[in-house]
């Protein structure tokens, strides 16, 4: 090849990556406050009882929306802005927006912050839409939908320019752009305008499910397939297993939506279908996890020396646990006991924080010093961040999962409702402590980022270090 490879500085808008990460961290703070408020409410320790704008129910919705659309989406957008141009060697599309002095990438940035902030404000004003994980008030939905379209328009062109077969990460990204757009449209508009009742329940289940499975999961694995080989300096162990993982996920994941509403009036044969495809997916998941661990073989030392790698593999550890849990919890037998209980809440936290947020925090740990061209202010604080998060989420999930079993037993044995509440209190106390650990980890990280930023300021920019 005669042509010189394009340079990193020409490909990646590093400031945008950085600011997506900062926006993500701000929303994570909001989300954690919401979670803390609800945790205190359950312990009857809510210091703001009776204040309308601090209603725990409303803040519970901010908790989930801020993490999904504020943190996770922003972190992914930052990651995409870094990875896609570097993998494809083409800039993202990023046309100038007529009338504004910015390109599409920055327009998406601002539009997205606006969407998430407006969602939070709408929720606080009591305008929620009755779609779990899609409570975004209905007047914001079209704007968010447009945002997702713009994301696809911005990031698909560089991928489209690649000649020949695509690298694994790009399969996941490409599919995720399509899936996220379709999922959002289905979940937010169908049950609002087109179908009612039981059928809307089926759509709602599919939405909750696809949001995790077709938006967060593929983008998350895309990150892993990109960063893990780079950090370990070796290729993924088996390309064949990567293929199994992607196509297995693509086929089985979307078929499972109804497993969120087992034993509802949704027809039983559909429920069985969802259960079976869920169990099938566990095999696929096992193949992916196996592939990554086989890649790690011979480099396990990296787990102690390389912090981003530790974040990534800890996430995979939790991924394996949640998916294993899922294979059991999806069965009708388990559902009888644990549906409606804190088991499910434990599961959700383990997936969202234990897996995807861990991966994204690992990515930030790796990228932020490269973006700021400054080493981390403190390695020690980084370690604290990791351990507080890892222990916090583990404790919270196990605590809630066990609690769920007790709650289910209490309900089905027809004890008075208060019994299930009384037995929950100690567990809810532990979950609050676990949450506080995670919040402490978050604060430590924020301090570290701010300090690193401040150190990066006065010094003149050095030559790019991140061209590896």
């Amino acid at each position: 090849m005669e042509k010189e490879l394009p340079r990193h500085a020409d490909l990646v808008d590093e400031r945008l990556v950085y600011w997506h990460f900062m926006a993500a961290l701000i929303f994570m703070g909001a989300s954690m406050l919401g979670g803390l408020l609800m945790a205190l409410q359950l312990l009857r320790l809510n210091p703001f009882s009776g204040i309308e704008l601090l209603s725990p129910g409303r803040w519970r919705m901010i908790h989930t929306n801020a993490i999904a659309y504020g943190f996770i989406a922003n972190a992914f957008l930052g990651g995409l802005q870094w990875i896609v141009p570097r993998l494809t060697l083409h800039k993202v599309y990023n046309p100038k927006i007529p009338g504004l002095n910015i390109g599409l990438s920055w327009a998406i940035f601002w539009a997205w912050q606006l969407v998430v902030t407006a969602t939070a404000v709408g929720l606080l004003l009591g305008q929620a839409q009755a779609v779990e994980w899609g409570e975004t008030p209905i007047w914001i939905d079209p704007v968010a939908q447009l945002g997702l379209l713009l994301v696809a328009i911005n990031y698909i062109p560089p991928i489209a320019k690649v000649e020949g077969p695509l690298y694994v990460s790009l399969w996941y990204f490409l599919a995720a752009f399509v899936w996220t757009f379709l999922t959002y449209a289905m979940g937010n508009f169908m049950p609002q305008y087109f179908v009612t009742g039981t059928a809307a329940g089926a759509v709602g289940g599919l939405f909750i499910h696809d949001l995790v499975g077709l938006f967060v999961t593929p983008l998350g694995w895309g990150l892993m397939y990109y960063f893990v080989p780079i950090l370990l300096k070796k290729p993924i162990w088996s390309h064949g297993l990567s293929l199994v993982g992607f196509w297995g996920l693509a086929f089985f994941y979307p078929l499972q939506g109804i497993h969120h509403f087992l034993y509802t009036p949704i027809p039983m044969f559909l429920q069985y279908g969802a259960v079976i495809s869920t169990i099938a997916l566990e095999l696929v998941v096992a193949s992916v996890i196996f592939n990554f661990h086989a890649t790690l073989r011979g480099s396990t030392g990296a787990l102690t020396t390389n912090l981003p790698i530790r974040w990534f593999y800890s996430g995979m550890f939790y991924y394996f646990l949640t998916c294993l849990q899922c294979a059991f919890q999806v069965t009708l037998t388990f559902q009888q006991l644990i549906h409606f209980s804190d088991w499910v809440v434990g599961h959700a936290h383990m997936v969202m924080f234990g897996v995807f947020i861990m991966w994204q925090l690992g990515m930030m740990t790796y990228l932020i010093p490269r973006l700021l061209k400054t080493p981390w202010y403190s390695q020690r604080l980084l370690e604290w961040h990791y351990w507080l998060s890892f222990v916090g989420i583990g404790l919270m999930s196990f605590d809630l999962i066990i609690l769920g079993i007790f709650q289910g037993l209490s309900w089905s044995s027809l004890l008075p409702w208060e019994h299930s509440l009384d037995l929950s209190i100690p567990f809810w106390a532990v979950r609050t402590v676990a949450g506080l650990l995670m919040i402490a980890g978050y604060l430590v990280f924020v301090v570290n980022v701010v300090q690193t930023y401040l150190t990066s300021r006065p010094a003149p920019q050095k030559a790019a270090v991140a061209t590896a």
């Binding site: 209603s55 129910g57 409303r58 077969p165 087109f194 599919l206 086929f251 009036p265 027809l414």
Partner: protein
């Protein structure tokens, strides 16, 4: 194919999504397409239970009621119509408050055929019960911090609900349910328009059932003879 743009975009991206959409969303939608979706007006037509509760609100909280809805017109027919209109209005508003306050994140609205739920809550839920605008989007719920509410109507009095929404711990010691004083004008016996609406909504839940009101298994009183007496009085 498996690693190409076209394959990923069209087979995985659009094709598999479409397949799942067909089987998981369109099949149930088509199966129930002949069950008409009821409007609020249709829901309340001939619902004596709900009408009773709404008039009961007028009797118990006369000042609040007048403040929210004004005075009923003269004449029986006009009055009927007036009550119809406002009870529909209250039901819709109550639903909106229920959604906006995220009550549905702590209370489910479906009774499963397992785990003794029909003994605790009442008849197992059926599809027909959800074919109405107030279940758009459906309020099945996924978590029960508090009990299922789909058979709540008639189980408690309006007074009870008012006090409970104002400050749950007054009635249910140690309840983790949040307080909602902004649905009141300063006191539990002064619900505002939203408060009245929410009570109406909660009383509506299950009001369409023959077994209304119905909750945990009826236990005859252990005091000898009392249960028999109770039966005679019915």
């Amino acid at each position: 194919m498996l690693e190409s743009k076209v394959g990923v975009l069209f087979i995985a991206g659009i094709g598999f999504f479409g397949l799942a959409f067909l089987s998981n969303a369109l099949v149930p939608a088509l199966m129930y397409r002949d069950l008409p979706e009821q409007t609020v007006e249709q829901l309340l037509r001939n619902n004596g239970n709900l009408r009773f509760q709404f008039e009961d609100l007028a009797r118990r909280f006369p000042d609040s009621f007048t403040a929210a809805y004004g005075h009923p017109p003269e004449g029986a027919a006009e009055r009927e119509k007036w009550l119809d209109t406002w009870s529909q209005h209250a039901l819709q508003l109550g639903h909106d408050v229920y959604v906006g306050e995220a009550c549905w994140h702590c209370h489910s609205q479906f009774v499963r055929p397992v785990s003794n739920e029909d003994r605790r809550f009442g008849p197992v839920s059926k599809t027909e019960e959800y074919q109405n605008v107030l279940q758009r989007p459906v309020l099945f719920g996924t978590r029960r911090v508090g009990p299922d509410l789909s058979r709540e109507g008639g189980r408690r009095s309006n007074d009870w609900h008012a006090v409970h929404f104002f400050k749950p711990t007054i009635l249910s010691i140690g309840s983790p349910m949040p307080e909602y004083p902004w649905l009141f004008n300063g006191a539990a016996d002064k619900p505002n328009a939203k408060g009245l609406a929410l009570i109406t909504y909660v009383q509506w839940l299950g009001s369409w059932l023959e077994s209304y009101p119905y909750y945990e298994d009826y236990q005859p009183s252990p005091i000898h003879g009392l249960a028999e007496k109770g039966k005679d009085q019915k």
